[in-house]
């Protein structure tokens, strides 16, 4: 976890950027990188790069950033980890490249010098970086395929700016805060702001798996170099034989975990009572990681009930010989932390509170790096969406394909059964949306439906936002090329939307606020490629069972059994309680499913107003 930023006054009419702006943006990200900081300016001072450092690999000052190549041509500012950097380094050294540090940052410089933009195809990791080429006077930005690391860009037509956080871009004081209707509409549809939009018209996300070049004529359109649907589509054409399922899954996941253990500091783990983090811990042990410290959040409200994860987590920690740290969180702490949570939240999100507390606990334990089981549900069909979305699409799709039937049925039901229509807005919309995968997915994941938005936002803003967001077209991009299986399609939709825009972003801001790098070995493009031939057979339940058995010492059976019922989390109730007190000014919403999330979303939005 680090913070990167930069300003490039590319247009010859623009004034050179000011150092105070570069520093204001950089230092807004102090929590991302408390261990060091640096800036670099091109000789004509038209391009400036900034960096805040959290030291994890090569703790020496030699590895400080922005890092300049030996001959002075390339300069890099980099946030993230390149997990295969040792292999790349060996390869570069074998052809005569000499290194002066043991960091992964230097590998980026040499790899770019050798391969140019094509370097991104060689990287395994989570990354966002910018490389300045002094000779071509050109900036290259890149972001990893899943979008684990954030990168925001702003271009006013004269000057290009970038940073790891939206709020940091704005902290420089030179970027407009004019609202982006697509971002606001997107947040209400999905519960998080869908990339590339943010709440602000002039700030955008560099999309995951994209590079962008900026030269004297300004930024070029971002170029995609990795789509999550690609390996899924390829894998479906080359399915794994049933007999190889277990071994191939174990090898692939263990390989990812080995890669993610790369660090010169201790690596801990977030341990819940579920399969994903339990299996990750088991495989850490298989990767010869001893004396792992595992952090679990427990809630006083649940003590002694079946909703309490801590006893099961303790059982897993004991099973794998980990040191277990249980951190109890109460409602009063949530209330105390709420202002800090909303402050740390870079863009509005209806989630992330749990991650905030577990990251806080990890920091209290002195950890800088922790693995998380995040991504297991997307990869191994853990969500109910893997059942619902294909079922709705199959069951209601053919009927919904009849033009106008959805709206007609909704009108009819609203008239005949107004109570049902109010309580179950999504059920009402089945015939309107279920004829396409993206529609069924939006029904499953959506916070509000497009048709509901005019009730809570200005209708003009909704119209404009929907025109710019094109939610279905954007969701459909996650399915290019077609993953060719039900599980594959939902996997692609969940990974490229919910995981990317919500879970990974929450992990970033909540971890960053506590100077903690959260690593997600189940969110790895190489792993996805290796598991893709297995994904079509990972029907709900199957994938998780395979993962539970992946460690040499399989997870205890009770973990898998419990996984099916899930755990309770009281944060929803806490949010609800706080919001009821705080939001009397907000228009009361109709009672409906997901009321807590909806009410919380309105309150979060107020914090960003």
């Amino acid at each position: 976890m680090c913070g990167i930023n930069g300003i490039f006054a590319y247009h010859s009419a623009s004034s050179p950027p000011r150092e105070d702006e570069l520093l204001a943006t950089r230092d807004y990200m102090r929590a991302r990188g408390p261990d060091g900081s640096g800036i670099w300016w091109s000789a004509d001072r038209r391009c400036g790069l900034g960096h805040r450092r959290l030291t994890i690999l090569d703790l020496s000052d030699r590895a400080s950033q922005p890092m300049v190549s030996d001959e002075g041509r390339y300069v890099v500012t980099f946030n993230g980890e390149i997990f295969n950097y040792r292999t790349l380094r060996d390869e570069l050294e074998s052809t005569g490249t000499r290194f002066r540090t043991t960091s992964d940052t230097e590998v980026l410089l040499h790899l770019y010098a050798r391969d140019g933009v094509a370097m991104v195809h060689r990287l395994r990791g989570m990354y966002a970086f910018a490389i300045w080429d002094n000779a071509r006077r050109e900036l290259l930005l890149a972001r990893d395929p899943y979008g684990i690391k954030p990168l925001y860009i702003a271009n006013d037509g004269w000057t290009f700016r970038f940073a790891s956080q939206v709020k940091a871009v704005l902290a420089g004081g030179r970027v407009s805060r004019d609202p982006e209707p697509a971002g606001m509409v997107g947040f209400h549809l999905f519960g998080s702001v869908p990339e590339p939009f943010t709440l602000y018209r002039d700030v955008r996300s560099l999309p995951a798996g994209h590079t962008q070049r900026v030269d004297a004529a300004g930024p070029r359109e971002p170029k995609c170099f990795a789509r999550l649907a690609e390996p899924l589509a390829a894998g479906a054409q080359d399915p794994a034989p049933a007999g190889e399922l277990h071994d191939r899954a174990r090898d692939a996941v263990l390989d990812s975990i080995r890669a993610h253990l790369l660090a010169d500091v201790e690596v801990g783990i977030f341990l819940s009572g579920g399969v994903d983090s339990g299996a990750v811990l088991g495989l850490m042990r298989d990767a010869r990681q001893d004396n792992v410290r595992a952090i679990t959040i427990a809630f006083a409200e649940f003590r002694g009930t079946t909703a309490d994860e801590a006893p099961l987590a303790a059982r897993v920690a004991n099973h794998y010989g980990a040191t277990h740290i249980v951190r109890e969180v109460r409602e009063s702490e949530f209330r105390d932390d709420l202002p800090a949570i909303l402050e740390a939240m870079d863009q509005p999100s209806i989630d992330g509170v749990n991650t905030w507390f577990v990251a806080k606990a990890a920091k209290e334990a002195g950890l800088k790096v922790a693995l998380s089981g995040l991504g297991g549900d997307e990869l191994l069909a853990g969500y109910s969406s893997f059942v619902d979305v294909p079922r709705w699409h199959r069951r209601f799709g053919p009927l919904a394909a009849i033009p106008g039937i959805g709206r007609f049925a909704a009108l009819l039901i609203r008239h005949l059964a107004p109570g049902f229509a109010r309580e179950r807005p999504k059920a009402l919309a089945l015939l309107e949306y279920a004829n396409r995968w993206t529609g069924a997915y939006l029904l499953r994941r959506g916070l509000f439906l497009p048709t509901e938005l005019p009730e809570i936002m200005d209708p003009g803003l909704v119209r404009e936002g929907l025109h710019r967001l094109q939610p279905f077209r954007r969701l459909a991009q996650s399915l290019e090329p077609d993953p060719r299986s039900d599980v594959g399609r939902v996997c692609a939709l969940e990974s490229a939307n919910y995981l990317r825009n919500q879970l990974l972003r929450d992990a970033d801001w909540a971890g960053m606020a506590h100077s903690l790098e959260i690593r997600v070995p189940l969110v790895d493009f190489t792993l996805l490629g290796r598991l893709a031939p297995l994904v079509p057979v990972f029907k709900p339940g199957v994938g998780k069972a395979v993962l539970a058995k992946a460690p040499t010492h399989a997870l205890p059976d009770e973990i898998l059994a419990k996984n099916k019922t899930g755990f309770g989390v009281p944060t929803g109730a806490w949010m609800n309680a706080v919001m009821r007190e705080k939001t009397e000014t907000i228009q009361p919403l109709q009672q409906s499913a997901g009321l807590v999330s909806r009410r919380w979303s309105r309150a979060v939005m107020q914090a960003f107003a």
Binding site: H11, S12, A13, S14, S15, N155, D156, G157, W158, S176, D178, R201, D202, R204, A216, A217, G218, P219, R220, E221, P222, E464, H467, R468, Q470
Partner: protein, 361 residues
């Protein structure tokens, strides 16, 4: 690299009058100078004055009527090879986009100022969204376009106005006539249109008593025509500065250039500038310029590096301060303005924009 045949649809260009015509001439002449351009056919709606386009540029006779213009544009497009369509005004976007589509050509659309600040009709908006490149005269205009058009922001670039050669510092012949002896001279150049009223003549007049009270003996010269002059004269009378305000009406280019040179301070507290070419003309003539930090003026005044940007309530104080400040070297000021907005810089930008839509780019 392939040589390109360009079809330019414009309201006016060579032989036209006003800022948009000038911009189109500058753009097309620069485009003709890019190595990859083979020919440019310009189709204007208006061309009141005779003019001689440069090499590789041919201008068709003007077609005033919308229908005849559209028909001629289509006929011309269908009868020859077209690799690139340049649309010089938002209002021509639909026909330009149709031609680009029919011919499989690239499309560049130019946005000037206020016309692009509000979302155009749905059809026009859709036409603009098909453009390979949208050029805007200022960051402000660009921000507005990016705000209403569903188009990748990278396709919307800023190509600011450039400066005519006649605007250069030298001794003024008019100075003694307009502001003799110790009098200071303020100048605004812009239309006085009662339906617009954004140029800020009234703001200057209202500020004059406070500036005079600071001890400045001054005359305020206004260049331009328009039906709002009577109101402004009345305002000048009301605030007691009628004898200090001189309305000169429209003037020719040579006289205009001399007026810029004669002036101590060019002031145009406008709220609606797409770019504000008059600021550049003043600066290029070596005269300090003052504007409001609103819309395109920030670009023309180089974010305060070339001229002074203030808020509306600081206007009188700023005029006083600038009139009291030691005068800047006019040649240095002119060179600074030319370094940013001169013809060389403009030509490079046009070719860079063209390069951006090269098929291999």
């Amino acid at each position: 690299m392939r040589h390109q045949n360009v079809l330019a649809l414009v309201t006016d260009a060579y032989g036209g009058r006003g800022g948009i015509a000038q911009y189109n001439c500058d753009f097309l002449s620069a485009l003709a100078g890019c190595g990859t351009v083979l020919s440019i056919t310009v189709m204007p709606r208006h061309a009141p004055d005779p003019a001689l386009p440069p090499a590789r540029v041919r201008q068709a006779p003007p077609r005033r009527g919308r229908l005849s213009f559209t028909v001629m544009a289509l006929v011309t497009a269908l009868s020859r090879r077209v690799d690139l369509v340049f649309c010089g005004h938002l209002h021509l976007a639909l026909v330009a986009a149709s031609i680009a589509y029919l011919k499989g050509a690239k499309l560049i659309i130019q946005m000037h100022g206020v016309e692009a600040w509000r979302r155009p009709s749905r059809l026009r908006c859709a036409a603009i969204e098909t453009a390979d490149l949208v050029l805007c005269v200022s960051r402000h205009t660009r921000a507005r376009v990016v705000g209403w058009a569903d188009i990748p922001p990278e396709r919307v670039m800023v190509l600011p106005n450039t400066i005519e050669d006649i605007f250069r510092p030298k001794d003024s012949l008019l100075r003694t006539k307009l502001a003799p002896e110790s009098k200071r001279m303020l100048l605004t150049v812009g239309r006085m249109d009662s339906s617009e009223r954004y140029k800020g003549h009234d703001r200057v007049i209202a500020a004059l008593p406070a500036v005079i009270a600071k001890g400045h003996d001054l005359v305020y010269v206004v260049v331009g025509d328009g039906d709002d002059q009577r109101r402004l004269r009345n305002l000048a009378r009301e605030v007691g500065v009628a004898e200090r305000v001189r309305f000169l009406g429209r003037v020719g280019p040579e006289r205009l250039a001399d007026l810029y040179r004669a002036t101590d301070l060019f002031v145009m507290p406008s709220t609606g500038e797409g770019f504000g070419i008059a600021f550049l003309e003043a600066l290029a003539s070596g005269t300090p310029a003052l504007g409001l930090n609103v819309a395109g003026a920030a670009d023309a005044l180089g974010d305060g590096e070339l001229g002074t940007l203030v808020s509306e309530d600081e206007l009188a104080v700023a005029i006083d301060r600038l009139l009291s400040a030691p005068s800047r070297d006019p040649h240095a000021l002119s060179e600074s303005a030319r370094a940013k907005f001169g013809r060389d810089a403009f030509g490079l930008r046009v070719c860079a924009a063209l390069d951006r839509i090269r098929p291999t780019a």
